[in-house]
């Protein structure tokens, strides 16, 4: 794939082209092996499939018509419970920062999105950042109608500048595939870009803490070494190749979909944080990060203490 095409493809999805991400060939050894070429070709196909980031693709009428289906899944299958939505400012841009659980089936995102849309109405613009691979999967165009855009700083800026609420999961693929026995741990992997984004856009941060997602399958390992070995980070921005026990595959490598167990999902929305009001005119990013981690971990510990049994809740 010519480099010019790659750069254009990346820019249109809100990603600044970087050598590491957008031109794997630039940093990869110029191996001519068939496997290497096949990998690079596949990475190119995936990149070309990432849809153009267009906030206008969010369709409130579509969301409204689909709400009953997702309400059913959320209420009957996951027995979802979302508390504290009143902590989210009624108007204006806001950065919702969540801990992510449940593998690629993202049950916590679904439960929260249904609750947000019914609470504030589908008229309130609400976007979610998702991994490129999710948006490039065949047959998965509907998340874009729900307001899901590729995870990138530019797309996040665009969403917040438009006055929308934006849900981000800083832990992303790293956190969502953590082993089930670490289910009650908030783990953003040290990613702090969301704090710089909130400061730059001058928007409040609302922490969203969820529990139960990591009980929808038995997540065994993130498979970081395997991902590194297969150059998935370089080619697909994937730091993990998770291995789990889940339905219907039993052993699920890569998690390209599974049937989640009906674990109870409980989500607590914490009070909004005005970074300048709480940390002064020039907040220290590390200090904000540590504070948020403590806050969210305390909330998660409290939710964990309420649970009596795995899956049942």
């Amino acid at each position: 794939m010519p480099q010019a095409d790659t750069s254009r493809s990346s820019r249109r999805n809100g990603h600044e082209p970087t050598a590491a991400v957008d031109d794997p060939g630039a940093t990869a050894p110029r191996s001519s092996s068939l496997v290497d070429r096949a990998w690079r070709e596949l990475a190119g196909i995936v990149r070309r499939r990432i849809p153009r980031a267009d906030l206008d693709e969010r369709d409130p009428d579509y969301i409204r018509e689909q709400l009953p289906l997702f309400w059913l899944l959320s209420s009957v299958w996951f027995r979802g419970e979302v508390r504290g939505l009143g902590n989210i400012p009624d108007e204006g841009p806001v950065l919702l920062v969540g801990n992510h659980s449940g593998g690629n089936m993202i049950p916590d995102t679904m439960v929260f999105s249904v609750a947000f849309s019914t609470y504030f109405g589908v008229e309130r613009a609400f976007f979610q950042l998702a991994h490129n691979l999710v948006l490039s999967m065949p047959g998965l165009s509907w998340p874009r109608k729900f307001g899901t855009v590729a995870a990138s700083p530019n797309n996040a800026r665009q969403a917040l500048s438009s006055g929308a609420a934006l849900l981000v999961y800083p832990g992303g693929d790293y956190e969502v595939h953590r082993p089930s026995w670490q289910g009650n741990r908030v783990d953003f992997g040290g990613r702090k870009g969301f704090i710089r984004l909130a400061l730059e856009q001058e928007v409040p941060i609302v922490p969203v803490v969820a529990i139960g997602g990591q009980e929808t399958a038995l997540f065994l390992t993130r498979g970081e070494r395997l991902a590194q070995l297969l150059s998935l980070d370089r080619l697909f921005r994937l730091k993990v190749l998770p291995i789990s026990l889940s339905l219907p595959w039993v052993i699920n490598i890569g998690d390209f979909g599974h049937i989640p167990l009906p674990a109870k999902i409980t989500i607590e929305t914490l009070p909004a944080i005005d970074l300048h009001a709480e940390f002064g005119p020039d907040p220290d990013v590390d200090e904000v990060y540590d504070h948020l981690m403590r806050l969210m971990q305390d909330a998660l510990d409290a939710l964990a203490a309420e649970r009596r049994f795995p899956v049942l809740g």
């Binding site: 018509e65 009953p68 289906l69 309400w71 209420s75 009957v76 419970e81 979302v82 019914t118 109405g121």
Partner: protein
């Protein structure tokens, strides 16, 4: 989906009307309501708008509603402006013995939601029905307690 229930309370129609037509008293008897706010300048009567939410399953549903019929002291009806499609009606009629029959009707759904909408309406029905029944019971208790307090106050005034 349509839900309807009624109750007979030991009070005049006017006494019941004074409570149900006062938007500031809604939270004292309406079951399942998690948010209730007056939206706009008209506090009560035709054209008054309220933002209301009530918990059904995993979500708080509702939206903006508007009073579209207001015939004091016998009935008023509302319809949704945004959010869940809904119509509701309070209907008061005199009953024998100086009492009042209070009826609450609620119809809800999501237009265009297809089979999932139909299933969701039916799954939610027992919960909505329970809230309607509980609302009527709580309203009945509230009115009868007020009647008792008023009678006691009158007795005290006569004795004093």
């Amino acid at each position: 989906m349509r839900i309807k229930d009624d109750i007979v309370v030991a009070a005049q129609v006017e006494a019941v009307w004074a409570i149900i037509s006062d938007p500031e008293r809604v939270l004292s008897y309406m079951s399942g309501v998690t948010r209730w706010e007056i939206a706009g300048d008209v506090r009560t009567g035709l054209g008054a708008r309220y933002r209301m939410l009530f918990r059904i399953g995993a979500a708080e549903v509702g939206g903006l509603i508007e009073i579209v019929e207001f015939s004091a002291p016998l009935e008023f009806a509302w319809t949704s402006v945004t959010g869940l499609d809904q119509r509701g009606r309070w209907r008061l009629r005199p009953a024998p013995g100086g009492r009042a029959r209070v009826e609450l009707r609620l119809a809800y759904g999501i237009a265009g939601a297809g089979i999932s909408g139909w299933v969701a309406e039916h799954i939610a029905a027992p919960s909505v029905s329970g809230h309607v029944r509980q609302t009527l019971r709580q309203l009945g208790r509230l009115i009868e307690q007020e009647q008792l307090r008023e009678r006691a106050a009158r007795r005290r005034a006569l004795l004093g």
